[in-house]
């Protein structure tokens, strides 16, 4: 049954009316019009739906919305601040780390969560961290290069 739920998404409070068992992905996309988070497989295998919950990468297609009420949810739409792209967003664009780009939101969010745990990762560590994210167009080498570039930019800034 639908319930009123309080969600904190990208720093803003949202009240939604939804069955707590509905996956977060659909609430983001259909109730809140946040369509940057994508459906790819519905079983946590492709990573296109990746969001951060309290800073940790989660598959929103397998996350019941009721389980994240009151937690801090970050989606791709919440990464840029005041119109300035997140270093990962800028690096993906600069490195042309996409073709169809449908996986890009999930890749960037997964990479953002990963860089919180490892500020200076090797290529192998990035490949391992993103192995659950599918890029079907085959831009993997560019994605790894973009993540390294962003990590460097973030280290230099802090």
């Amino acid at each position: 049954m639908a319930k009123s739920l309080q969600l904190e998404i990208n720093g803003k409070a949202h009240q939604v009316n939804a069955d707590p068992g509905v996956p977060l992905l659909y609430v983001l996309r259909e109730n809140l019009n946040l369509t940057g988070t994508k459906y790819g497989c519905g079983e946590g295998q492709c990573g296109a739906c990746t969001v951060m919950v309290d800073g940790v990468a989660r598959r929103s297609c397998l996350t019941p919305v009721g389980s994240v009420a009151g937690k801090k949810i970050t989606t791709i739409e919440g990464l840029a601040s005041n119109g300035k792209l997140h270093p990962l967003q800028q690096a993906f664009w600069d490195a042309d780390a996409f073709q169809c780009s449908y996986c890009t939101s999930g890749m960037i969010v997964a990479a953002a969560a990963f860089l919180k745990t490892n500020a200076n990762p090797s290529e192998a560590q990035i490949a391992h961290a993103l192995n659950g994210n599918v890029c079907r167009c085959g831009t993997h080498p560019r994605i790894i290069a973009a993540v390294q570039k962003a990590a460097k930019a973030m280290r230099e800034k802090s």
């Binding site: 659909y26 939101s105 831009t139």
Partner: protein, 719 residues
């Protein structure tokens, strides 16, 4: 309205899904155009045979009200200098939005950000058969260059008239015309209050590639910001006010008919409506979650006949060969196989097979449909917006001008989105619901109800002399197709034939079509022959190959990898494969390691040399080549559709393995730039060398010859 097959575009026989004939419908006239876009200059690219039919026989005409139907692109420059380009080509990740923008900027001499590219909207773009076959760069890129160059010349003429100057003394740059003394006027100012129409045949002379300034250099994505911020709206993101979500109730097997359906429980759910029309059964609901629950609540009974399974597949394809309608089979016979075999010192006969594989675009099929009376608008991801428009018109008994298909830049296709099934489903539900309806296929639906790359069986018989010259080449492909079937090796006696079969599964185009299967068979067989006559695989190929472009890519890949000095150690091997397809030349060298104990096969390195004429955008080209290589790894090593009696057994990403970061080796791309040769497309051909290169490398590493794709779905097979 005219209806005729387009003679310029040969369609490979294995594009089974393209039964639709091209269909021109072009309702605009000149006045409407300027009403729509505002004053300024309109330039139309017209196909030559159409231009030749004009009464005057002149290439250029001005001022006529009606426009020809055979226009293939158009460009408008407004009074503010803004440039709008219209093309029926669509963006599915190959980044033609950028490369076409770049072509216009280059020829028209304007900045990239003054150009807006309108693509794949059947209401406003010229008819286009579809975005497939690697034709955008060789055709549309050139055409837009010509259209843009014409616009530039016309602007120079306008300025010459205004200044009473000789046009030869004027130049165009940065959206302005200037004379030698430094006088300048912007394109927008030149066009104030004007309504100028130019029409050109699409074959005017052009600047040679060596004169290009913007094109030929890397250019960042023109819409990159929207892509990295999640703002871009893919077809599955599209939403309309009052929209409902649709879900189709699927049969439990292919070719099934609906016997009965108990829909009572679903119909009691709030906001849910059930739609049944023949064997079509679906629901609409306020959210996709509720639509899924409602569909699951329906008890449907289906009836189907027994159908083949994987284990019978290759036998079925052989047995039913010739059962399909007559098509162009690409039969090629020269010399005499009998004599060629008689002249040989050694003979070899082998069979190669490929399984069905799925395109698996990360964005599944999606469509939003909206009716306004008897007018239908559909937003959907397809490589053929005009083809889908025709499908919709047929399905709903409409005229094509009652149907508007719009294709937002889509989450990939790889040849897999040529058809309009999701658009039809959404439209059927929307008509019943009297509200806009969105249908997004689940991954399971995409794996089951889309079409697959054809499976195939290929028999190769050959004869070779001990000095390495091939004397006979007989090659029969059952079902997978005729693309890439001719051999580019110089062999006097050949018999090459494609045999269409009755496919147990729905099949159709896939990146590179059958070129992957045919190159796998040919290039594996070449390696087997080299082994037979104890020659180095590169030396053996070059001995039988005169084509300079192809020799160049084989040599370039070998040089990059250090072929002569490659290490020969147990458990490691190098192999090569390459060829020519769609005006592109490719050679791939793979380095593979095999762990005997665990039977694990790992591709350590892929080096691909590619040459497709003059390079338009090296950054994007490198990306296309590397992407095709990575996609090729899946089909080479582990991708295969499992099916049994009309059911797909592995319709999930957890059951159907696609390449991931851990599968991706070091990839090196060598691009050969031939500025003297027109640019060809690059989205497909670089996939064809991967499987044979890897198979040949596995043979060197492990001594096991693998002749079936995928080669190692469960690791190296036991000998």
């Amino acid at each position: 309205m005219s209806e005729k097959p387009n003679p310029r575009v040969p369609i490979e026989p294995e594009r089974y899904e393209l039964s639709a004939k091209p269909f021109y419908h072009f309702a605009w006239n000149r006045r409407e155009f300027f009403q729509f876009l505002g004053a300024g200059m309109l330039v139309l690219g017209v196909m030559r045979d159409a231009a030749a039919m004009q009464e005057s026989g002149q290439a250029r005409r001005r001022g006529e009200e009606s426009l020809p139907r055979e226009v293939s692109s158009w460009l408008h420059i407004g009074e503010d200098g803004s440039v709008t380009v219209f093309t029926g080509k669509v963006e599915v990740g190959q980044d033609i939005r950028t490369s076409l923008t770049q072509a216009v900027a280059e020829e028209l001499r304007v900045s990239i950000d003054s150009i807006r590219m309108v693509m794949g909207d059947t209401q406003v773009v010229p008819f286009d058969m579809g975005t497939f076959g690697s034709r955008t760069t060789p055709t549309m890129n050139l055409q837009l260059r010509r259209v843009s160059a014409t616009a530039r010349d016309a602007l120079v003429q306008l300025a010459a008239q205004r200044w009473n100057a000789d046009a030869k003394t004027l130049s165009a740059k940065n959206g302005e015309i200037s004379d030698a003394s430094g006088h300048s006027i912007s394109y927008g100012d030149l066009l104030k209050g004007q309504q100028i129409t130019e029409m050109i045949p699409a074959e005017d002379p052009l600047e040679p590639a060596s004169e290009w300034t913007v094109a030929g250099k890397p250019l960042a994505r023109v819409n990159g910001r929207e892509l990295v911020t999640g703002e871009h709206r893919y077809p599955s993101d599209h939403a309309l006010p009052g929209m409902l979500y649709g879900k189709i109730v699927r049969p439990d097997a292919f070719n099934a008919t609906l016997v009965s359906a108990d829909t009572a429980k679903a119909e009691k759910m709030p906001g849910v409506a059930v739609v049944r029309d023949g064997d079509f059964l679906g629901v609409v609901a306020p959210t996709s979650f509720e639509a899924r629950k409602a569909a699951e609540a329906i008890q449907a009974t289906w009836k189907s006949e027994p159908q083949p399974s994987n284990k019978d597949l290759f036998e079925v394809l052989r047995k039913t060969a010739g059962a399909e309608e007559e098509r162009d089979r690409g039969t090629h016979i020269t010399g005499s196989i009998e004599q060629g075999m008689a002249a040989a010192d050694q003979r070899l006969k082998q069979t190669y097979t490929v399984q069905y594989i799925a395109h698996t675009p990360l964005e599944p099929r999606a469509a939003v449909a909206q009716w306004d009376g008897d007018k239908l608008t559909v937003w959907t991801g397809t490589q053929r917006p005009f083809g889908v428009r025709q499908e919709l018109a047929e399905a709903f008994h409409l005229k094509e001008d009652q149907v508007h298909v719009f294709m937002p830049d889509t989450g990939a296709a790889y040849g897999g989105k040529h058809t309009g099934e999701t658009a039809i489903e959404a439209a059927r539900l929307a008509r019943a619901a009297k509200r806009p309806v969105k249908v997004v296929w689940t991954r399971e639906e995409e794996f089951t109800w889309a079409y697959f790359r054809p499976a195939g069986v290929i028999d190769v018989s050959s004869g070779v002399k001990n000095d390495g010259s091939i004397t006979a080449w007989e090659f029969h492909n059952y079902n997978s197709g005729g693309a890439g079937i001719p051999t580019y090796y110089d062999i006097a006696n050949q018999h090459i034939q494609f045999h269409p079969s009755h496919s147990p599964l729905r099949q159709g185009s896939y990146r590179g079509l059958a070129a992957t299967a045919n190159h796998f068979a040919r290039e594996s067989h070449m390696d087997e022959l080299a082994h037979l006559v104890k020659m180095d695989p590169l030396e053996f190929r070059l001995k039988n190959l005169k084509n300079e472009r192809l020799r160049a890519v084989f040599q370039a890949a070998a040089e990059k990898v250090g072929w002569e000095k490659r290490k020969k150690e147990p458990g490691r091997g190098f192999g090569m494969g390459g060829g020519f397809e769609k005006a592109g030349n490719v050679a791939t060298v793979a380095e593979v390691s095999v762990d005997r104990a665990s039977r694990k096969v790992k591709i350590e390195r892929l080096v691909t040399a590619f040459e497709c004429g003059a390079i338009v955008n090296p950054e994007n080209l490198e990306s296309q080549v590397a992407g095709a290589n990575i996609m090729g790894i899946g089909g080479a090593l582990f991708e295969a559709i499992q099916f049994e009696n009309g059911k797909i057994l592995n319709p999930r990403l957890s059951q159907y393995r696609v390449p991931r970061f851990s599968d991706v080796p070091k990839i090196e791309v060598v691009l050969l730039d031939r500025k003297d040769i027109p640019s060809a497309g690059a989205g497909e051909t670089p996939i064809v060398g991967v499987a044979p290169a890897v198979g040949n490398a596995i043979f060197k590493a492990a001594g096991v010859r693998l002749r079936s794709l995928p080669m190692v779905p469960e690791g190296l097979p036991k000998a």
